[in-house]
């Protein structure tokens, strides 16, 4: 009996281990390749450990690799992305929270229709937005700028963030709002003092979700930006596609890792809350 359960446990862990290896292998290859020199890459095989660790490729990818005609590395793109992602995540999350609060706790005539329309927004393929959005940005004078990208990401993220918060807040008992109203609190005081402090799990989920979406976005980044406002995904693409005499795999890998690093960091820092927020049953997404 005990032997049998031990056997199955071993099998299960064995399978899990293999799956983990399978998923981690690309990361391993990227990491090791990025710290090898080109000589070593040519001589060795893909899976071998680096003999001589060097960060030259990282440094080149960051500050001197060529992305098209100019050769300043990924750094400017990286900072563009930072300048874009922080306000875009903050604004879309805050607006989503307020929307969700209104749609769940201050329903008005027609609020269900508004919610249904927002829900519809989650399923709209972003490609169909490109032309109207380009015109809108033009009208607002935000075309090809970072603020334009922020605007696009806020608008396109609102449907999801509203849905997240609305579904989470629906689970908060209405009596709490009633009690606060009798305590003399109004719309904003209830939001800031009662609702927001209860929102840590869903805030974390939304921030991670939005950060990942916006940081990794390529479509809007490539369509709505100019030379000075290109985000990191576009930079990475340009770097990998710039034809040089030899393909510098180590630089490509380092660049890809630099592009992925912020999302990895966010997951590591807040991943625990992310899982908790998802399993709280508050989110469909």
């Amino acid at each position: 009996m005990a032997d049998q359960s031990k056997f199955w446990r071993t099998v299960i862990y064995g399978v899990l281990f293999l799956v983990a290896v399978y998923y981690l292998l690309p990361l391993y290859v990227m990491l090791t390749t990025s710290v090898k020199s080109m000589d070593e890459i040519r001589a060795g095989n893909l899976l071998s450990l680096p003999l001589d660790i060097t960060f030259a490729a990282w440094s080149k990818a960051w500050s001197s690799a060529c992305t098209g005609v100019d050769c300043g590395g990924l750094a400017p793109y990286f900072w563009n992305s930072v300048m874009m992602v922080i306000p875009a995540v903050a604004i879309s999350t805050v607006l989503g929270a307020v929307n969700g609060y209104v749609l769940s706790k201050w329903q008005f005539r027609g609020s269900e229709v508004v919610f249904a329309m927002i829900l519809f927004g989650v399923f709209i393929p972003f490609q169909v937005l490109l032309l109207p959005m380009a015109q809108t940005l033009g009208v607002f004078g935000m075309a090809s700028s970072i603020s334009g990208l922020v605007f696009v990401h806020v608008v396109c993220g609102l449907a999801s963030t509203t849905l997240f918060f609305r579904n989470y807040y629906v689970g908060i008992p209405d009596e709490l709002i009633k009690a606060a109203r009798l305590d003399g609190a109004g719309f904003w005081r209830i939001f800031f003092r009662i609702i927001l402090p209860m929102s840590t799990p869903i805030l974390t989920v939304t921030v991670i979700w939005q950060f990942t979406q916006i940081w990794n976005d390529f479509l809007f980044g490539v369509v709505f930006s100019s030379i000075e406002s290109r985000p990191i995904t576009v930079g990475l693409n340009n770097l990998a596609n710039t034809s040089t005499s030899v393909k510098e795999y180590n630089v490509d890998m380092a660049a890809a890792l630099i592009a992925a690093l912020p999302t990895i960091v966010v997951y590591v820092l807040a991943g625990k809350y992310f899982v908790r927020g998802l399993t709280a049953g508050a989110v469909k997404g």
Partner: protein, 362 residues
């Protein structure tokens, strides 16, 4: 002085009419109970009194002032909710202080109020705890503390005890009663529990389907229920309803009751006999305690099917005129199941209902 008056209040959600013309008036210091089965509109009426919802028509007066257009916070009321509705991210002290802060009560005065309320409800040692670290009874106290801190003209309690276990419920019931006797504040208290209604209220409003069935003192409602619904809802075990025909024998007006043997003619007291109605179908309402065990040959012979000893009393389950009845008797003389018992109904306190309209005949 009128503490609360509800005048012709109706409430509809779309096409569903939840409240259909509610009229209630109570004086300052009274303890009003709204009792009725779940879904009859009690919470809706409470929310209207509190101003959390607007009535479709009608007026609400608090302290002789029409408050229909007064915001909840300005109605000088406090409410205790069924789920307690404590703010989960605040500790007990902050929960009580929240309303005071909102009303800009000076900090020193806040501390004074919190200390007084905490002492009164014996929650001083809990002030630093979060609601999630409290037991059900403690949460209940904190919810009451939050209401008391305000020192309002009117307290609203919406089923405050229904989430507690039976023993705690009895304790808290006594405590609420004591609190009322001490503070003499007007209280409106919602419950679906008829024992709570009887034990706590000065005035009881029995509701069903958005209509007040009867409004009166607990004893009035117990002794003279307005209709079959009220009679069956208040009292435990419920009143026995025995279908009969009013008959006249040798100038005496009465009803025939039949258990195991021949029908037995029982005279009605003058109070009920006056109405006449000879030959009409009525429903005789007899509470379980209005039966006595009589010696053989007296009263009505009934076959006992089950007995339920409760300690002080024993409940006898039998049948009269083809209906199940329960009689509450002293355990010492209680018969055994299957035996024949002679039950003597005391019609002195009996009530009669019209068989069709189900209202009480008087």
């Amino acid at each position: 002085m009128g503490a609360l008056a509800i005048k012709n209040v109706t409430k509809s959600f779309g096409d569903t009419h939840i409240l259909k013309g509610i009229n209630i008036e109570i004086d300052a210091g009274q303890f009003l109970i709204l009792v009725g089965p779940s879904g009859c509109g009690k919470s809706t009426l409470m929310n209207i009194i509190a101003g959390l919802e607007a009535p479709t028509s009608g007026e609400v007066h608090i302290a002789d002032r029409v408050v229909n257009n007064v915001a909840p916070k300005d109605r000088d009321i406090a409410m205790v909710f069924q789920s307690y509705a404590l703010y989960p991210t605040m500790n007990v002290r902050q929960n009580i202080a929240f309303g005071l802060e909102t009303r800009k009560v000076p900090k020193a005065e806040q501390d004074e109020i919190i200390a007084r309320v905490a002492k009164m409800l014996q929650i001083e040692h809990l002030l630093g705890r979060k609601p999630s670290e409290l037991s059900g009874g403690q949460r209940q106290r904190v919810a009451m503390g939050r209401a008391l801190a305000r020192n309002p003209k009117l307290f609203l309690f919406d089923e405050p005890l229904s989430n507690l276990d039976a023993k705690l419920r009895v304790e808290m019931r006594a405590e609420i009663k004591q609190l009322h006797q001490r503070l003499k504040t007007t209280i409106v208290y919602v419950t679906h529990d008829q024992i709570e209604a009887m034990t706590l209220g000065d005035r009881i409003a029995v509701m069903k389907d958005g209509v007040i069935q009867q409004f009166g003192s607990p004893q009035e409602i117990y002794d003279a229920p307005a209709n079959l619904f009220v009679a069956g809802f208040i009292g435990s075990p419920a009143m026995n309803f025995i279908p009969c025909h009013i008959a006249e024998q040798q100038g005496v007006i009465g009803v025939a009751l039949q258990g195991e043997g021949e029908p037995v003619f029982c005279a009605l007291p003058p109070r009920l006999a006056q109405a006449g109605r000879v030959g009409q179908a009525v429903i005789l309402g007899l509470r379980p305690e209005q039966f006595d065990l009589a010696g053989a040959g007296n009263g009505v012979a009934c076959r006992i099917r089950i007995i339920e000893p409760t300690g002080p009393d024993t409940m006898l389950f039998s049948q009269l005129n083809g209906r199940d009845i329960i009689a509450r008797v002293h355990p010492r003389h209680a018969p055994q199941p299957g035996e024949l018992a002679w039950l003597a109904p005391d019609l002195g306190k009996a009530v009669l209902f019209d068989a069709v309209t189900e209202t009480r005949l008087s």
